[in-house]
Each structure stands twice: as structure tokens, then as C-alpha cells.
Amino acid sequence: MIEAVTRFDSFENANIHRGLYDLSSTATKRYEQIRTKVAHFLGTENSNTVAFTKGTTESINIVAQSYLSKKIMPGDNVITTIMEHHANFIPWQVLTQTHHAELRIVPIDPHGNLDMNKLRALIDSKTKLVAINHISNTLGTVNPIEDIIAMAHKKNIPVLIDAAQSISHCALSLDQMEYDFLAFSGHKMFAPFGVGILQVAEKHLGEVLPYNVGGGMIREVTNERTTFRDFPFNLEAGTANISGVIGLGAAIDYIGSLDKTDVSNHIRDLTDYCVATLNTVPEINVVGSPSGRSGIVSFTVTDIHPHDVASFLNQDQIAVRAGTHCTQPLLASLGLGATIRASFSIYNTRDDIDQLKASLIALIKFWS
């Protein structure tokens, strides 16, 4: 990935969709090839369903402002869940507030699974969108997306999937799901920061209006009015993060080269092993015990603040994160101020988890 980006920055640095000089036409071509690559990765031939964005956050904001805000009426509602990242929570909170609509928040059960009965009860004829993450970035819970999509589609309600955490788990068959909107970020799949994807189902392509306006996304501009290009080009105003997109292309090649089942098994194994290992230490409290969990384990240590834990682990070269993980509503509902979060990718091994445990035990001893 880094090689792909550097090569671009050094030799091929040129604006796309603008001039017609050689460099630029090469850049345009690569850019559009990567759009096709992303489409194939997501299981469709239609590359015009794929828009490049800044990341998950921008993708979701676009759906809120450029799609849903034109449709939502006072009294309507949007359904999201208590376990969402702020990126898939605040846009709906702000949208429903400004449109005098209602934000309905699906709770979790005591294990950290989504409460599907509550979800069923909350969906009604006034529901305009269900917005849900595929994998919780704090609990690691893998949500039953197919069931949720089926439930919503029965009532003709579109579903947005925040796939930020699942996009690198190619085995989760995102490419076979019938979601309406899909959002994810490049940096969660080994691509650079500041690039992401919004994919829109064909039937909604005409309903996503421009977001930023400016160069590159117009058909014609006169003093009096502007006509815009179609999706996805109507979203891509201004100069794109080209090296980000090229890095994203390289990342998809890399992920595509892995054996889906191997990756999935490896990450599940690490996750289960981590939970089991941490559970052997009485001072360590693993947060939640969802029936499906993948890649992420949150925990706390009795009497030591999560940030202190993380700082000491970092001294031992163990990279964990402490904090609310941009899921304040979730933590508040669990009565927690913060957690420590371990997350696993294909690079990790069981050894890493053994070291994590050893460091934690040493810290607990040091602290007491």
C-alpha cells in the first residue's frame, strides 16, 4: 500500500477529471479503475454505485443531509442503536432534532447483543431509515445484519450499514447483502487516512443529491443556475484525495489476496482466546459477552483508570486504546466512564494476548 501511494505522489501527481494532459488522464483512469475495484469487492458490477468520500463519518453525513433530510417529515423516525459509533449516532440525532422527528435507539441485552425484539417493536410505518453498525467498535458484537435488512425491507424501509469495523473481515459476506447504504473508511483496511466509501443501492442512486458543490460535479453552470452530474459524480466536488484512493485500491488488492475463511477463523480464534485469557484474572472485567464477537474486546481493570492501564501497556509496546471509543451513549448505558480496548487484525497472534495478560498482571501488582 505504502509503495502504491509513494509511487503516485512522486511520479503521477496530477489532478483528475480536470485537465487533459497525459499525467492527468493516467490519474483519472486509475481513479476510475479503483472505483470499479471497490464495486467488485462489494459484489456489484455497477461502479456507479460507489462514491469516494473522506471516510465513514462523511459518508453517513451525506446520507443524512443529501438523502434523508429531503424525505423526513415531522413525526417520522430514524432507528439507530445504543452501540453506535458517534459517526452513526450524532448525524441522526441532529437530523431528527432539526426536522422534529424522533430518534429511536435500540438497546442491547445484558450480554451486549442487540435487542432484536425491541428493534422489531420500534420499526413502524413512520420509520424512514435504520442505521446500524455491522460490528460494534467497542463491544465487538457482530450484528445480525441480514435479519435486520429483511425486517426493514418488509416494510420498505432502507437500511444503512456502518461497516467501518467489518470491512476488513471479508468473510462476513458484505458483498451478498442487500443493504441500501454502506459506509466505511480506508484506514480500517490498511489504506491511508482520509478516504472512504459511500455505496448506494441502485434504486436510490437518483435520490442522493449533491453535498459539497463546486468543480468536477457539474454538468453546466450559468449565472442563473447549475445542473449537476449524476451520482456518484455529484458528490465528488473539488480535488479528490487521489493518493488516498490509490492506497485504498492497493488495500483492496491486499485483502482480496487473503483467504477469507482463514482470516475470519484467525480473528475469531484470537477474540475468543483473549476473552478466555482475560477472564482468568479476577481484577479484569471483560465488557459484554455477545453471542457473536469479532476482532474487538473491551475491558476494565478494577481500581485502575483505563487510560492509566493503556499508558502502562504502551510502555510495554502493547497498543491498546482507552476511552469512550466515540461511543458515549453505549458506555453511559453500561454505567462505564471508559474502557480499554484490544483489537485484532491478521497480524496478531495468541502470543500478543499472553503478553497482554502478563503486562496487566504486572500492572495490577505494581498498582496495589
Binding site: 477529471h17 487533459l20 494532459y21 497525459d22 492527468s24 488522464s25 483519472t28 483512469k29 457539474i218 454538468r219 453546466e220 452530474r229
Partner: protein
Amino acid sequence: MTKEELEILYKSKIIPASKEPYHFEKHAQANTVIEAYNPICGDKYQLYLDMSEGVVQSAYFHGFGCAISKASTSILARKVEGKRLEEVVALGDTFIASLTGITPMDFDDECLKILNELKNFDGRVDCIKSSWEAITHHLKEEQWK
């Protein structure tokens, strides 16, 4: 493509076809008028077709664009005359597909072949494609009516 090859293509076909394009005039009485607009550069042509009994009886065009797009549209006008609607759509689909480089085309036609050779030239594929896409798209919609 070397600069020399390019110059030969331009000299032999593109410049002549763009300097003296086929049926380059407004043809107000045509029963079908199609706009071919290239948003990348803002160039625009009107295609004037006279259709009867499912056949393109005559094709004219007018507007402003580069030498490539003018040559391409000129060739288009000449090629579609006398063809049935379905034949035009089929030709358009095949030609457009040949420009993506994925589906090759059997070119018995010299002019189409030259246009196709320019597909990799300096990002100008939209210049070649624009009018072809407009007519194919329009006639497909016509077929569904």
C-alpha cells in the same frame, strides 16, 4: 502511440472529417433531436435524425466541439443513415464497448477503427464516445416506448 502515428491518424482522418464534417448543419425539420453533451469539457452537439418506419432516413448534426468529437460525430451520422433503430443501438453498444478496451470489435469499417485507436490518446475517450452514447441512450428509450 508515437507522435508520428498520431499525426498520421489526425492528418488522414480526424482533421479532414472535422474540417468538412458530413451533414454538419442544423436540420430543424428532423423529427428526432438529440443533445450530446460532454460535461468534462462543456462541448455540445445536436443530432438531427429523420426517422420513419423504424429507419434512420437522414442524420445531421451541429454544435461545437474538438476535432475528435466532430470527426466521431461525423462518422456516426454517416454510419447510422439507412440503418434500422435496432441496428443503430447494436452498433452503438458494440462501438462503445470497444472503447472500454474490454470487448474488442471486429472493425470492417476503417473510420470506426481509427476512432477506436484513439481511445487511449490523452484521456480523450469521452470525445469519441459522447455522441455515440447520446444516440444509443436515446434510441434505447425510444424502443421501450
